[in-house]
């Protein structure tokens, strides 16, 4: 694959683009459930995969996601009245149900069947855990609802936040796959952040700053193993799964909740990072949830529209003192903003013809190649992986193994999510 192809084929996910077609084979997070908190609440604008949509929750609690603009004269239904089982355009009163079907066109005679022929394009949307997922693709190819472990655990065991990132989704995803930046960029956070500190694994991290990597190809995507020296004859492994097309999970630390991300294209120059923390076997504690809400761990402190408070308009609150003294390697506070500030600084869509990749970028190189092959295969009628339960029931793992053992063999079933099964973490 040539570098120009990456931007042309992989970065753009709008309707009718090759990558856009691939994305439209997956349920994607489009809202936090808190954005549609109750029946008949205000509708919310959603832009995803370069489509302008409106989401609402009707009087019976059904979720709808459809074309943002009224079929009559193109008014945004954001101004709509959400009432009595549908969303009504305030201009001339046309009313739509959650599927986008017009159910009332007041200007027509009561006996007319005009409205039966008016339908806004609509997509299925479903609540899983604290997130609303939608499927924007061909109904005939619709996969079953997502089975990510984070969204199948009991209430109280998961917390999801979202954050606007002002660059192309692929830049953000590549950051999630690029394990070699962690020692540098996030090195200062291991012991200061309440959601990471105190694990045995942190000591291995600090004891060996030059990890080796093994990138393992598996059906759903890649498993990226970062290996550090542990006790004599043993390795400490941190295993990051990437599942096609845009899901990554961070290896756990101690008994802390486990985190991961979806990198969801808004348009070609913006994406949402949906960042979750869950614990497979216990409720999140109040202190943990408070820390997550405050933007610790992989989360960020945001304004009401989910844009981080530290953003490019205030130079991400760059603190040169902290950069100099090493509390924060880049001078930016918090993992999430450390990543997004740098990824946004590349420009909304980085020019990959100017990259100088090195061998340790092999994970990124391989992921691009897998995306490219999935895009091409779909064009030939071959359905992708990553949208089936067996690909999604995956766990990240942190483990100490004998030096002569394959990490995949060593972690074995620990990689497979099962209800109430403790996770494997160091």
């Amino acid at each position: 694959m040539l570098r120009t192809d990456i931007n042309e084929l992989l970065a753009q996910a709008g309707p009718g683009t090759p990558m856009g077609d691939l994305f439209r084979r997956y349920w994607q997070p489009v809202l936090l459930a808190e954005e549609l908190p109750e029946n008949d609440c205000p509708p919310v604008r959603v832009k995803v995969l370069s489509e302008r949509l409106i989401a609402f929750r009707d009087s019976e609690g059904r979720y709808g996601l459809m074309d943002e603009f009224c079929a009559h004269r193109g008014v945004s239904l954001w101004f709509g009245r959400n009432e009595e089982g549908g969303l009504r355009c305030p201009y001339h009163g046309w009313k739509y149900d959650v599927t986008g079907q017009a159910v009332e066109v007041p200007s027509e005679l009561a006996s007319s069947n005009f409205c039966a022929n008016v339908k806004l394009k609509g997509y299925p949307m479903a609540k899983r855990g604290d997130v609303l997922f939608a499927y924007l693709g061909d109904p005939a190819a619709q996969p079953p609802l997502p089975e990510w472990e984070a969204y199948t655990v009991p209430d109280g065991q998961v917390f999801t936040s979202k954050r606007l990132q002002e660059c192309n989704w692929l830049q953000a995803l590549e950051g999630g796959i690029d394990s070699s930046h962690v020692t540098f960029l996030h090195g200062g956070n291991l012991e200061s952040d309440p959601l990471f500190k105190g694990s045995k694994g942190n000591e291995y991290n600090k004891g060996d700053l030059k990890p080796f990597f093994e990138v393992v190809d598996y059906e759903g995507g890649l498993l990226i193993g970062a290996r550090r020296n542990a006790e004599e004859g043993m390795y400490y492994w941190r295993v990051t799964p990437w599942v096609l097309p845009n899901f990554t999970m961070v290896p756990p630390r101690g008994d802390h909740p486990v985190h991961g991300h979806f990198w969801v294209p808004i348009d070609d120059e913006n994406c949402w990072a949906y960042s979750f923390d869950y614990h497979p076997t216990r409720q999140l504690t109040e202190a943990e949830v408070a820390a997550m809400r405050a933007g610790k761990g992989v989360h960020s402190a945001n304004d009401a529209s989910y844009r981080p408070l530290a953003n490019k308009d205030n130079d991400y609150l760059m603190d040169r003192e902290s950069q100099k003294h090493g509390e924060n390697y880049s001078g930016i506070e918090g993992i999430a903003l450390q990543d997004s500030s740098l990824q946004e600084s590349m420009g909304p869509l980085v020019d990959r013809t100017k990259e100088r990749l090195v061998a340790t970028d092999a994970g990124i190189i391989k992921a691009r190649q897998k995306l490219y092959k999935a895009v091409k295969a779909l064009q030939d009628g071959v359905e992708p992986t990553g949208n089936r339960a067996k690909d999604q029931k995956v766990r990240s793992v942190a483990i100490v193994l004998p030096a002569d053992q394959s990490f995949v063999e060593g972690i074995g079933e620990a990689m497979v999510a099962e209800p109430a099964k403790p996770h494997t973490s160091v």
Partner: protein, 173 residues
């Protein structure tokens, strides 16, 4: 973290104040990205690709047919001491490992473990980056993997044949 915490943590530290054209908001736009200066990047990798067995040699030979900057391709002849350069003559390992900064080893079986160790030792001594591709079904438990593991900073397992080409292309070899 909240803005408030931040102030609290570094009450005395001066914080950079966004300054016009030099601020992130101005700089990180598509329009400004167009002003990134344009000049040829030097292809200074001097990558060496080493096939560790016969099947690997087939893969390496076919990659060698493509157009590369400074990459050179080898197979093993006398374990540990001499390598055969594709389309050229034999070269002592010590020479192969001179003036290079990346060695990519390709294996499909567990042969030539001594050569792997010799390459690995020289690479460590001379600060040369090592990568390994294990192109083999069942690669996860193969000898090829275990021989390469101590000596390759990054391993692709299982790798596909075209991963070699992709890796070389992406690293401008």
């Amino acid at each position: 973290m909240s803005h408030h915490d931040h102030d609290h943590d570094h009450a005395s530290g001066p914080r950079s104040v966004p300054a016009g054209l030099s601020s992130c908001a101005e700089a990180a736009t598509a329009k400004e990205a167009a002003y990134r200066i344009d000049y040829p990047l030097s292809a200074a990798r001097n990558t060496r690709v080493v096939a560790l067995d016969d099947e690997a040699e087939r893969i390496v030979r076919s990659a060698a047919l493509l157009d590369w900057g400074q990459a050179r391709f080898f197979s093993i002849t006398d374990p540990g001491e001499v390598l055969a350069e594709v389309g050229a003559s034999d070269v002592p390992l010590d020479k192969v490992m001179t003036d290079t900064n990346t060695v990519v080893m390709v294996a499909t079986s567990g042969e030539n473990a001594t050569a792997v160790a010799a390459i690995g030792d020289l690479a460590r001594e001379r600060g040369i980056m090592t990568a390994g591709l294990v192109v083999a079904p069942g690669a996860l438990t193969s000898d090829a993997l275990f021989h390469l593991r101590p000596h390759a900073r990054i391993l692709l397992v299982p790798a596909e044949e075209d991963d070699l080409i992709e890796l070389l292309r992406a690293t401008r070899a």
